[in-house]
């Protein structure tokens, strides 16, 4: 798998929301609820992000393309990307806590 670097917060949240199939509006609601309204995603940005993630093969649309309320779900590659990101975040927080912990 390609080295993907750090994910944006929005990409990670979209990937997490799609462990269950969801359509655009449900993804938006999921993110808003999980962040207590801190991260509010506009429909234009969500549309671009879903298309980008689908182009990368990290998520896939379900059913026929012209169905109303298109649903997406995460792919196997997408799940691997999420696991990589969790590892990266763990390392990052462990390192940050180590440095900050030494100073207090």
């Amino acid at each position: 798998m390609e080295n993907v670097g750090a994910l944006t917060e929005v990409s990670l949240f979209i990937l997490l929301s799609l462990y269950e199939p969801r359509h655009g509006y449900a993804v938006m609601q999921f993110i808003e609820q999980q962040t207590d309204g801190r991260l509010r995603l506009g429909a234009g940005s969500l549309y671009g992000a879903l298309n980008n993630l689908a182009d990368k093969g990290w998520i896939e649309p379900l059913g026929e393309a012209d169905r109303r309320r298109r649903e997406y779900r995460i792919t196997l590659i997408g799940k691997k990307v999420v696991q990589g990101e969790i590892r990266r975040l763990h390392q990052l927080t462990a390192f940050a806590e180590e440095i900050v912990g030494e100073q207090t």
Partner: protein, 202 residues
């Protein structure tokens, strides 16, 4: 009782958006638009919110797909022409379009450059472009669209100045150039701020 209001905003999308939101605050819901006219019907004050989006750089198919997505989100979407000319069988080159540029034809993408998106007010702010990446892409498109037009007009203005001196053609073309340069500069300015912000934040 409906109300017809005549306005023309051209490249000043933010002004158009403020106008529609002001009308909605006063209890007027947008029903349809023409080239320079807006038809409203009474609604509760503040019942709806509006966003104006720019889709001239997209192919008709990509634009329709985006409109369908917005429709699925529960929004009402209307297309609006940017220009005021009537056209059938027209073909325009848009070098600033997606990929290698786009051809706008009529019927097709021509005269459907803008989307007016309506959302029932739920007390939360209504924005279409919120992520850094997407906002930067949005203003970059705006900058190249208006910048390209301004450049073309400036070239015509210079040509006309050299050929005829300061006759009315050169004056009119210079004014038109400035008229296009303004939204290009505005987008450039916002883009610069976003870029600086993106270096430390998402």
């Amino acid at each position: 009782m409906s109300k017809r209001v005549y306005r023309y905003f051209y490249g000043f999308l933010d002004k158009q958006q403020s106008f529609l939101n002001r009308m909605a605050r006063e209890g007027w819901r947008l029903m349809r638009t023409g080239r320079i006219s807006y038809v409203f019907e009474p609604c509760e004050p503040d019942e709806y919110n509006y966003c104006v989006d720019f889709v001239a750089h997209k192919s008709p198919r990509a634009s329709q797909d985006y409109q369908r997505f917005l429709d699925e989100m529960g929004y009402r979407v209307m297309t609006k022409p940017l220009n005021i000319n009537y056209s059938i069988g027209k073909v325009r080159v848009r070098p600033w379009g997606e990929g290698w540029g786009k051809l706008a034809t009529s019927p097709g993408a021509f005269n459907k450059e803008l989307l007016i998106v309506e959302k029932k007010n739920d007390g939360k702010p209504f924005e279409l472009h919120t992520t850094m990446e997407d906002r930067m892409a949005y203003y970059r498109t705006q900058r190249s669209a208006w910048g390209t037009l301004a450049l073309a007009l400036a070239a015509f203005a210079v040509y006309s100045l050299v050929r005829y001196g300061w006759a009315w053609q050169a004056v009119a073309l210079s004014v038109l150039t400035l008229f296009h340069l303004w939204p290009a500069w505005q987008s450039h300015h916002i883009l610069k701020q976003l870029k600086a912000q993106s270096e430390v934040m998402e």
